[in-house]
Every structure is written in structure tokens, then in C-alpha cells.
Symmetry: C2
Subunit: 359 residues, 2 copies
């Protein structure tokens, strides 16, 4: 097992990464009250819920469960309300803990519920997908979607602890493993050319689900995220770089309707678009762009999106949270392995990029 | 005009208190972006909305408006959603400001929307009722009700600035002015015996709506609140004292149904109950209890509640946010003008108190 810390002063917390982790032992120091609400979904429930309920009950905790339907299309205010209902029906108080057992949707919703319930209760992340292990479970961003935009309503709510167990990835469908690899590749592209070389060496083993390789990829990814979050928790600066591929990706997801493309798939194509625009701006070479596309393709991820009318694509992009004073800002690559947040891009070139990366 | 500061480090903010304040001049330094969403209600809209829209437009801001129905019964997730809809339909971004123009319900809802929209945007409070001027507009507590409990879902979201304009109280119904005086009396009872003496001298003028007296009462009340909030923003300790009368009061409000009793009316009776229990515990004298009842009665506030079945009263009390590890804690008076938060009260005496203060 490897341990990383997200250094946030008195809200410092560990990420435990390994296979067949012991939740009873690892969670005990991080549960402060007597009440734990496990939020999970119908897919994860039959696989892992009993294991966690048993561990928590052995610790003497009062455990309640809220099971949501599985899918990004349920990441909305109606289903968030079900968590509040469950907390109040269980009679839970301000000293309770909300434990997210599931992927990014469950983590985002449970974390937002923890942020809002009684104006804030304790929160623990047990991410069961690769994507949530390397991305959403670390850093405290939580929230829900709105019909007019993704993650438009939310809060910063740091967990007490994160457990990333590779054994739980065995049950993950190949398509979702690939979606997680999109965010892994993102760290390499935005900050770590050596990690890109490592991924190029090991992509076959990662796609095949090798636990040791996955643990290493999760560790390296979380190390980048932990460092960036510690420097810039509220995304005033550097943290925005983690959105490489996301502004284009959010437009694709929003247009397609939540849940049609996986988030990681949209981000994958979004990263190709960011690389494509970076190349048109003259910042990276054509070879760099091809290298970016190649590693994404080897992870079985899409490098182009369906045909989307340009004006609609731009409208969805304009809802992005990185818009400041009405000015769209994009995360692009100044060079391969070095991302920047910039408003100084050519809008005509951006249009070319969007049109060039559609099927 | 008098100015108080809530000392919260880099989130320090001023409360401006006076009559016929100039919003254009006072707000300008505290609006950081170009977009302002005014959240108000159907009662306040015809009285004051145009004045604020004009002031903001003179500052060159893009102004949008979200008008909610008036009343505590609308302080719920459905009506909160209307604010998010308005923000997204206006195309507002992460650098926008949400301005609450109204009473406590509007301030709580607009503040919670500001806390959650894009994970947090700027917020300004323009409280138009006495109750919100002395209580909810200061200190950053925001939120909505749930069918199973009041203010169960919310966030701490400090405003950039608070404008408390006594001129706006001229339009306030007498019943609501009295409800505000309940919270004014609360500060005297919990922390300031000299303020109680001042209120006993000036209650007739306050009830009659004398602007100079009201400004002084608001200033003294906000000074207490600002000091307590600066010491204990997240209510880990001292801030809980501000809930004097509120655990009993919330039970009354919840049982009656939101909006039947005004919050201040329920708190008034709740303070009588807290004083009654404090007297039964031997902490304050019978004369102190009578003095408490007398000042509340002189503010035209109720000192007893309708008949509520005991088990229901206790069930609503157990949903209180001050419950810790299943243990109910109450704010009582160790002596008149000195409140304490305690779990060491006699449950049998509490039962007597509830039964003794019903009509």
C-alpha cells in the first residue's frame, strides 16, 4: 500500500492506494462521530456494500445506506434530495459522516450532500472506478449538473480520507477503465513528460487491468493532483490546468446529453482538441499532436466527436466555469507535458479545431 | 451612518447601518465582476427593486433579477432551483455577484445559491426586515428548509458587505417588526444586561418604528453578532449561544408548519421556555423569568405556544443541529444576560417547561 497526503493545513488528509485494503483499520481514525451514511449506486451495491457495512459495524458505528440509480443522468438536484431525505429519516446529526462508495457521480453527489447537510458534515471517499480514483475523489470538488451545464451547482468539500482499492477495479467494464485512463493521460500531458513515456511503455498492461501497473498510475496521478490542489485549493490559478480537455469535453457531454458519452471519453476527445489548437497556435509540433492522439487511441478512447453544429458547440463552451468577465479561457499545451490557462488564443483557429475533430 | 466590521481575516466585511443609505456609493467597492443577480420577493420588488437596479446600472453592471414568492414556506429546494435557473439563463459566470434584497428567507436562499453556484460566487446582503438586519444577514449562515427540519441544508457563505437601511423598515408590518425585536432582545438576554436595561427604557419607541432607536438597536445587536461570529465562524462553540430560544422555537415552527408563526415569534416563546427551564434549574430567579417575559410581551410577542403533543415537540427538538452524538444540547441562561450551551439539564424539568408554556 502507498500513502499520499493532500497538504491542506488542518484539513490535511491521506489517500491510501493498494489492493485489498482493510477499511476497518484504515477508516477508524477518520470517523469522528457514531453515524455513517453510505451513499452508493445500484451497480456497486451488490459488489461491495456488505463489505463496508460490516467493517463499519465492527467499529461500532450506526450505518445507514442510500442507494441511487447508476449514471451521470441522475447527478441532479432531484437525486441529491434523496440523500438529504435519507440523512434526516435516519435522524443523523451534525457529527455524522457521509461515505461515498462508487464512481465520480456518487462521490460528487455524496460530497455535495456532506457539504450542505446541516451546513457541513464529515465526508469519506471510497472511489470504485479508475476515473474517480485519479480525479474526482481527490481535491474536494463536489456538485451536481444543471440542464444548462455540468457541475454548475456544488461546493468544495474535502474528504477526511480516500481509499483507492485496485481490487475493486476488477469488476469495472473495459469502457470505464479506458475512461479513467483518459484522466491518467491528462496528468502526463499537462505536467509530466516522463509519465507520458511510462504510459507509452505500459498502456497494454493498464488496459488489461494489471493491478500493480494501475496502482502505480493512480499513485502518480494522485501525486500530481494532490500537489496542485495543495497549491490552489479553490482554483484561483494552477488548479485550472487540471481542466485540460474539459472545456471542449463538457461541450461534447452537454450536447450529447449526460450519460451518452462517458466523462473520460469526452475529456479524451477534448484533450485531442486542446492539442490540436495548441498545434495550430504553433506551441506544439505536429508530431506532438500525433503522439497525443496515439496514446489516447491506445487507451481505446475516441479522438473525435460526432458532428455538432458549431454555434451549439460554442454556446456550451461559453457556459464553462473558467469564463471570467465574459472571456473564455482554455487550458492548452505550451509544450507537450506543460499546460497553461490562457485567454490568448485565436478564435478562428479554435473554430477550425472544433470542425477538424468531428466525425 | 455607523459601520461595523465582521473580522474574518481576508473575508473581513463591513455592515453599514443608517437611514437612506446610498447603494451606488456603498456597494461599488464590493462588486468584483460585471454581473449582479438581484434575488428578491414579490413583496419587496415593488418597493425597492428599481432603486437598486438603477444604482447598479449606474455602476455599469449587467443586472438580472430573480423574484421569488414571499414566505418561509417557499424556502425549499424547488425555489432555490429557480435562482440557479435564473443565473444560468442570464449566462452568469464564476465572477458574478448574488445580491439578496429582502428578509431572512431571501438572504438565506440567495446566500446558499451564491455558495453553490459554480461552487461559490460573490454575495451581498441588503436586508429589508429588522429580523434579517440583526440576525441572518450577518455571519454567513445560509440555507433552506427540509420537510423534516428547518435550515437542514445550507452552507456558510459570508457576504462582501451588508447594507442595513432603517428607511426600508417603514414599510414593514408591525408584526414583522416585533418578530425582529425578538432577536434584538435575544442579544440582551444572552450577553448584555445593560442592553436589556436600554431596551426596557426604549421598547415603546422601538415598537413604534423610531428610526434612530432602531438604528441603535441594530448596531448593538450586530456588534454582538459580529464579535461572536469572528470568534467562532463555524459554530464550534460560542456561536451556538446565538441559538438562545431556537431549539424550542424550531420545534414550534416545525409543528405549526413553516410560515404560520413568524420565526421571531417562535424564538420569543422559545426564549421564554429557555428562561423557564433556567429558572427550574435554579440558575435564574423567578423575577428574572418575569423580567424576560415582560420585555417579550412589551414587544408584542407571544410568551406561550399552542398545545403541541409532548412526544411531537420532543421529536422536533431532537432534529436540532446542536444535537451531538445523539445528545441534545440547549442554550440556557446561567444568569440573566449570560447564556451557556449545555447538555447538563434535567429532562424531566424540560418536559415541565414545555407543558407549562402552552396555551
Amino acid at each position: 500500500m502507498q500513502t499520499l497526503y493532500v497538504e491542506l493545513g488542518d484539513r490535511r488528509y491521506p489517500i491510501f492506494i493498494g489492493s485489498h485494503l482493510n477499511p476497518q483499520q484504515l477508516l477508524e481514525p477518520y470517523i469522528h462521530g457514531q453515524q455513517v451514511m453510505i451513499v452508493t449506486n445500484t451497480t456497486v451495491q451488490p459488489l461491495y456494500l456488505d463489505h463496508y457495512v460490516a467493517a463499519l459495524e465492527k467499529l461500532g458505528k450506526k450505518v445507514a445506506v442510500c442507494v441511487l440509480p447508476d449514471g451521470e443522468q441522475y447527478k441532479n438536484i432531484e437525486h441529491l434530495t434523496l440523500i438529504f431525505d435519507a440523512l434526516l429519516e435516519a435522524g443523523f446529526n451534525r457529527d455524522c459522516t457521509v461515505l461515498a462508495l462508487g464512481g465520480g457521480v456518487i462521490g460528487d453527489m455524496a460530497g455535495f450532500a456532506a457539504a450542505c447537510f446541516q451546513r457541513g458534515v464529515y465526508f469519506i471517499q471510497v472511489p470504485t472506478t479508475l476515473l474517480s480514483q485519479v480525479d474526482s475523489s481527490v481535491g474536494g470538488k463536489t456538485g451536481i449538473n444543471h440542464p444548462l451545464g455540468k457541475n454548475m451547482i456544488g461546493a468544495f468539500q474535502q474528504p477526511q480520507v480516500v481509499l483507492a482499492d485496485m481490487a475493486q477495479l476488477k469488476s469495472l467494464p473495459a469502457r470505464e477503465l479506458s475512461a479513467g485512463l483518459a484522466e491518467v493521460i491528462k496528468y502526463a500531458l499537462l505536467a509530466d513528460i516522463e509519465f507520458l513515456v511510462w504510459l507509452e511503455e505500459h498502456m497494454e498492461g493498464l488496459v488489461a487491468g494489471d493491478s500493480a501497473l494501475l496502482a502505480e498510475a493512480v499513485y502518480r496521478s494522485c501525486a500530481h493532483k494532490a500537489r496542485i490542489v495543495a497549491n490552489d485549493e479553490k482554483e484561483q490559478g494552477e488548479r485550472a490546468l487540471l481542466n485540460l480537455g474539459h472545456t471542449f469535453g463538457h461541450a461534447i457531454e452537454s450536447y450529447m446529453g449526460y450519460g451518452v458519452w462517458l466523462h473520460g471519453e469526452a475529456v479524451a476527445t477534448g484533450m485531442v482538441m486542446a492539442a490540436d489548437l495548441s498545434q495550430r497556435m504553433g506551441w506544439i509540433s505536429a508530431a506532438d499532436l500525433e503522439r497525443t492522439k496515439k496514446i489516447i487511441q491506445r487507451a481505446n478512447l475516441p479522438v473525435a466527436c460526432p458532428k455538432i453544429p458549431l454555434e451549439e458547440f460554442l454556446a456550451y463552451m461559453s457556459h464553462d466555469k473558467k469564463v471570467l468577465n465574459g472571456q473564455l479561457r482554455l487550458v492548452l499545451m505550451k509544450q507537450l507535458g506543460q499546460a497553461i490557462l490562457t485567454k490568448d488564443f485565436d478564435v478562428e483557429l479554435m473554430t477550425q479545431t472544433i470542425l477538424a475533430n468531428q466525425n
